[in-house]
Symmetry: C2
Subunit: 316 residues, 2 copies
DNA sequence: GGCCCCGTTGCTCATGTGAGCAGGATCACC
DNA sequence: GGTGATCCTGCTCACATGAGCAACGGGGCC
């Protein structure tokens, strides 16, 4: 039996007594016939070698070391990473992330006067998790088209209005479909006085809050009727990994289908990229690829995500 | 937002800074605008409410609090519980437990002069994990019959001999099948001078080491040809949960089939029960029921097992 | 409205713990 | 077999932490 092996075993015995039995290092020393300094070193060793895992089990728990790595290694201004410890379902993960996004939004200083938001399942959940009074007099403006064509009419509007109301302000909706069938129609809509004014307001926002969609049939665009499942398949074939504010991007963050993009109403990706504060909220294993594209191509300055996604960004 | 809720969130934030960022309570106090005493209380609260989980990730890690509960609540003289943290396969669990049993055997003081052992997969693994020189001059004696009928001839012998050799002593084998077809044959064998002497020696052992088998087709008795799968089915129907030293017991620790039992060679259950030191080594989810029966009916004074089995004993 | 009770707060003090350091053992290499 | 480098040990000291305690304050009850 090698010396290192003996030390390893001893460090495990010491860790058991220290962490499970709450003994002092001195007591452990007496029990194992070691000086208390040796015990301290064994415990430090056990930690350093990764034998000790400390987890914070709570829906609101975050992973600060991973957040730091995201800031440092991926150049983000800020990162919020929720813990996946104890998560039972994808829905729970989604909820934790939405909660964290709501927390982050609430904590932004100075409080944004104008906030640009996209819409979708994630944004809606965030709006629900916000507390009344999270801001005072915030003006919420939609940054991409979102009049639902078939199901769930008004969730886009409900999201923006909800965020605004709880923030003691008003919402400015973008009265336009997300994607139009013909380019001419899209240009006509954008030149409409009201629509143009909303987009202009969106461009002037202090901060943006948006999510990302995965490029698959579960997309909100498919659900809302803007794209058919077959359309999505074609996009995937062209390299699409997901969409941001209705615009499909590849793994480098570039527009996949310029023609489609030209028919999409709302802020452009470059306008997002040049924003001072662009908060992306992306969670779930289905969105690992989009999250990666978004962060790589600088589409957001702040990312709110879950631990698994964050680790994917760091190791992938 | 209720006060308790605020405190809960604060304790999570504090825990993140304390355990993940290694800040001092004082630093955390400054960051969260609290006194360091408040921080200390929040951390204590987080621990006490179970938000903090500390795990020792190591094949040799044990669960001392569960061992204590087994001793106190189930009246065992001693209990060894190996951690299941990070276990990938049932084989790994089995190996960890065998290793722990070998460790326990090595640590018994005074060193037993005569050790009675059963045989089987578990015992064989224990013999392999023992280190040469674990004892000096130990006499190992088989406590139940075990001349394999078909496959793997000699593992029973190899186990006893291995334990003896590594302990610097000799092995005394029980030259008899485990179960005989006819009662008369069994009685004849037991009256044989050599066999009788071995059993007499077994009765005088200072300590016993044995495992338990589950009552299913994977049993060593089936594998060795002493019982057919159909025989086992019948036993199960009669309430058998497993076997100890070849004897099938029900959930109360009583012999299931007295006729069969009468044809089984080796120590009786009552002889085991009255032993000073009887160490049972039982691991794996298939053996939860037997483990329970063994402990309930006082068949062992010391139990070596895994965390999941131990929790089954405590909660079931 | 006054009073009491109980939970919370910020403290003192004792204990627990980690950093850094000098002496000593160990090992490889000459 | 000598010698130097390196690691390890047991220490001092400074800091971090938990226990216990008095003062405070808020809420319920008379």
């Amino acid at each position: 039996m090698h010396v290192d092996e003996v030390d390893e075993l001893l460090s495990i015995r010491a860790a058991e007594l220290y962490y499970e039995e709450n003994k002092t290092q001195d007591e452990i020393g007496q029990a194992l016939r070691l000086t208390r300094w040796k015990v301290g070193r064994l415990l430090a060793q056990a930690k350093q070698r990764g034998f000790i895992r400390i987890e914070i089990l709570h829906p609101r728990a975050r992973r600060l070391p991973i957040e730091r790595r995201l800031r440092e290694e991926r150049g983000l201004a800020d990162a919020i990473v929720v813990s996946t410890a104890g998560v039972q379902s994808p829905e729970e993960l989604q909820e934790r992330t939405a909660q964290a996004a709501a927390d982050y939004l609430t904590a932004i200083r100075p409080v944004p006067r104008t906030l640009g938001v996209s819409w979708g399942r994630t944004l809606f959940e965030i709006s629900q998790h916000l507390r009344s009074g999270w801001a005072t007099g915030v003006n919420v403006v939609q940054i991409n088209g979102g009049v639902s064509l078939n199901r769930r009419p008004g969730t886009a509007a409900a999201t923006a209005v909800g965020i605004a109301q709880k923030g003691g302000g008003s919402a400015t909706l973008l009265p336009s479909p997300a994607i139009l069938e013909r380019l001419a129609t899209k240009e006509a809509i954008e030149s409409d006085r009201v629509v143009a004014a909303v987009i202009e307001l969106a461009r002037s926002a202090d901060a943006y809050l948006f999510s990302a969609g995965a490029a698959d049939h579960s997309s909100v665009h498919v659900e809302s009727g803007y794209l058919s499942p077959a359309d999505v398949d074609v996009l995937v074939q062209k390299g699409a990994v997901g969409d941001i504010v209705g615009r499909y991007i590849d793994s480098d963050g570039n527009i996949v289908d310029p023609a489609l993009d030209a028919r999409t109403v709302g802020l452009t990706l470059d306008e997002l990229r040049s924003a001072e504060l662009a908060v992306a909220v992306i969670a779930g294993s289905a969105k690992h690829a989009v999250a990666d594209a978004v962060v790589r191509s600088g589409l957001c300055s702040v990312l709110v995500t879950d631990e698994a996604t964050a680790l994917h960004l760091l190791n992938g």
